[in-house]
């Protein structure tokens, strides 16, 4: 589904991703962990098509399409979804009409009929229960004045409504209380299927108790320096990153 080979990305001339490889197959959940500033969000942004990054080498294929050559909205319509580490506030744009527009763009692209207001409302009501979000947040401008946790739930609500094939969750668990964490994880688990995949970026092993990954990768200084199963996350929790970093630095 997603195949990243030797991806090298720089920002304003500064190399950030330095030869990253990642294979994600349908039905899999991959967790990416790693120190602050190692390039996790950069990877998420490059994959979703944000401007300002220069791809210096490497490829990223998604469903056999050249991902890096597609406009961000086309990636989304093809089933990619990024839950932002810092969701953007958009004053004046109503949360519901924004999400309806987004869903219908994706449906149009797939050749499905657009949903009218009534069908959309019943869909969104159902998905709001999934993330236990307060209904008045739907009437507000997108993320404006939302608490940190509300913003994250709103990301998961959008994910639930848009029903992506590949979802990248960038620290969706940061800033969530334990209850919210369970709800967000519950949302992911409900959406999980044989046909879709998740890349979950997180700093906390705790999340992985709820969303059990098939693979855990450690991203450091722009490269994946170690991959393993969920046990790797437990080991990182205990030992930190230092032992890995030392190993990576000393060419043996």
């Amino acid at each position: 589904m997603l195949s990243i080979k030797d991806l090298q990305v720089s920002v304003e001339g500064k190399p950030i991703l330095k030869g990253l490889n990642l294979e994600v197959k349908p039905g899999e959940i991959h967790a990416i962990m790693g120190p602050n500033g190692s390039g996790k969000s950069t990877l998420a942004h490059v994959l979703s098509g944000r401007e300002g990054y220069s791809v210096d080498a490497g490829t990223a294929a998604y469903k056999n399409l050249d991902l890096l050559d597609m406009a961000p909205e086309i990636r989304a319509r093809e089933g990619m979804f990024l839950a932002f580490q810092y969701p953007i506030e958009i004053p004046g744009v109503n949360n519901t009409s924004f999400l309806k527009k987004a869903l219908n763009e994706i449906r149009k692209h797939r050749g499905d009929e657009e949903l009218d207001a009534i069908d959309f409302l019943s869909l969104i009501k159902k998905q709001m229960k999934l993330v236990e979000m307060k209904e008045d947040l739907l009437k507000r401008p997108v993320n404006q004045g939302f608490s940190g946790g509300e913003k994250k739930r709103n990301e998961i609500l959008q994910m639930a409504v848009l029903n992506p094939t590949l979802a990248i969750l960038d620290e969706t668990d940061s800033g969530l209380d334990i209850d919210a964490l369970r709800i967000v994880a519950g949302g992911v688990n409900k959406l999980r299927s044989e046909d879709n995949a998740f890349v979950v970026i997180t700093h906390y092993q705790r999340l992985l108790d709820y969303i059990v990954p098939d693979f855990v990768h450690v991203l450091s200084d722009g490269k994946i320096i170690k991959s393993g199963t969920k046990d790797l996350a437990l080991e990182l929790e205990e030992r930190g990153y230092d032992w890995l970093l030392e190993k990576a630095e000393s060419p043996s």
Binding site: G49, E73, L82, P87, I88, I90, A102
Partner: protein
């Protein structure tokens, strides 16, 4: 200067010569001072600070002719009437009142509410109307205001008696029609709202087909103690029209004046609004949007005179400028020495949608009192890249995302309109204008 650069001036001279044959809106006495100023014929240039950013060549070069004022058929203006379904409609064709297209004047007025054409005033009413004009602090160098005062043949007088709430809004629909040469319309309107009374007026300016028109209205409004006036101006004239308006408002003690201006049309728009507080506790809310495309030029000027203590003013204007259009915002808030406890807010935000669009904004505060709360600010920006990307990342095209953000930018002003159909109408017009834009540089 070449001969043909004085077309408007020539037209004025012709009118001055033919003075005796005409029926003017105002009395000879009131007109006299304005005629002198018109006879001197000094038009502002860009050397005048007030006109620094706004060239008048095109306006002054118009070949002005007499309007035949054929009355268009009712269907052609129905959509404009629909803008304000629950209102009384008065229709003016190239400035001239159209009885056949308007509601019956007798049905509009009610007890304590006078709605009359300037030409039909009793001598008492004439005195009152001209008193309101005289109370406005006219400046000699505002030649466009004097063009209306001195030479207008048309106008409307609205008077609400004390303690009267007029429930039905009044919709003034000004229609420019196609003529062989450019038609000039210079109405003088006077609105007087009595003690503790209420009135809502919606003024709309439109043009049919490719009407060439110059519209130079002068409005005078007076609010007595404790009264309220809500005034809406919707400018939708075509891009072969020029529009220069002057509005002068006196707000009495504890009275509240609300103004909304939606300036979406015309090749050149200049809107000058001067609000003076005539007693303590007076307040005003001014809102506006100017939306430009092509080579449109939109110039909004406000002047607020805080002459009494405990008065509030709250101004918020937003500009949306695409292509090669140009916006100007010039707002001056004057807080006089004894105007303690003044609360004055002024905000001007501009959104440039193209590299060639431009805005000059100049919010100004002149404060001579020491115990006041004043805030002002201006911003000029582009569409927010992060917000654009966020929308795109959800499947919305960049162009649609740009439209959504631009509509949202405007909605923060229009949501305060307070009359639902008017709000919907204005928002629909803004949306359709935005849909026409090629947001090439988004």
């Amino acid at each position: 200067m070449a001969e043909n650069t004085k077309q408007l001036a020539n037209w004025i001279q012709d009118q001055l010569q033919a003075d005796h044959d005409q029926n003017f809106a105002l009395s000879a006495q009131t007109r006299a001072a304005s005629l002198k100023i018109l006879d001197a014929g000094v038009f502002p240039t860009r050397k005048d600070e007030e006109w620094r950013y706004t060239p008048l060549n095109t306006l002054l070069d118009q070949n002005i002719g007499a309007a035949k004022s054929d009355v268009p058929n009712a269907d052609s203006i129905q959509t404009f009437k629909n803008a304000v379904p629950e209102a009384h409609h008065l229709v003016f064709i190239n400035g001239k009142f159209s009885e056949s297209l308007s509601d019956d004047l007798d049905s509009v007025k009610e007890s304590g509410y006078t709605v009359k054409l300037m030409s039909q005033l009793t001598s008492d009413e004439q005195l009152q109307a001209e008193g309101t004009i005289r109370d406005a602090k006219l400046s000699d160098d505002n030649i466009f205001q004097h063009l209306a005062l001195g030479l207008s043949q048309f106008g409307l007088f609205l008077d609400v008696a004390n303690h009267t709430e007029v429930k039905t809004p009044l919709h003034l629909l000004n229609v420019a029609t196609h003529e062989a040469s450019t038609s000039l319309t210079n109405p003088v309107n006077v609105i007087h709202v009595g003690v503790n009374s209420r009135l809502k007026v919606i003024e709309q300016f439109v043009s049919l087909s490719d009407a060439q028109a110059v519209t130079i209205p002068a409005s005078f409004m007076a609010l007595e103690e404790g009264s309220g006036l809500e005034h809406f101006k919707i400018g939708l004239e075509s891009d072969s029209t020029d529009h220069v308006s002057n509005t002068s408002v006196q707000v009495g003690a504890n009275a509240h004046f609300t103004s909304h201006q939606y300036l979406l049309g015309s090749r050149l728009t200049r809107s000058n609004m001067e609000v003076g507080f005539a007693g303590p506790g007076a307040s005003t809310t001014l809102r506006g949007i100017y939306l430009g495309d092509g080579t449109q030029h939109l110039d909004v000027r406000t002047y607020l005179d805080h002459a009494h203590p405990h008065c509030n003013s709250d101004q918020h204007f937003r500009g949306i400028l695409n292509d090669h259009s140009r916006g100007v915002f010039n707002g001056l808030v004057l807080v006089r020495e004894h105007a303690q406890k003044t609360d004055a807010k002024q905000s001007n935000k501009n959104l440039l949608l193209s590299r060639d669009a431009r805005v000059d904004t100049k919010p100004q505060l002149e404060i001579f009192a020491d115990d006041v709360k004043c805030a002002h600010g201006a911003t000029v920006g582009e569409l927010d890249e992060d917000a654009l990307f966020y929308l795109q990342s959800r499947g919305i095209s960049k162009e649609d995302a740009g439209l959504m953000l631009t509509r949202a930018f405007a909605a923060e002003i229009t949501e305060d309109i307070g009359i639902e159909p008017v709000q919907e109408y204005v928002e629909a017009n803004i949306s359709s204008r935005l849909n026409e834009l090629s947001l090439a540089n988004v």
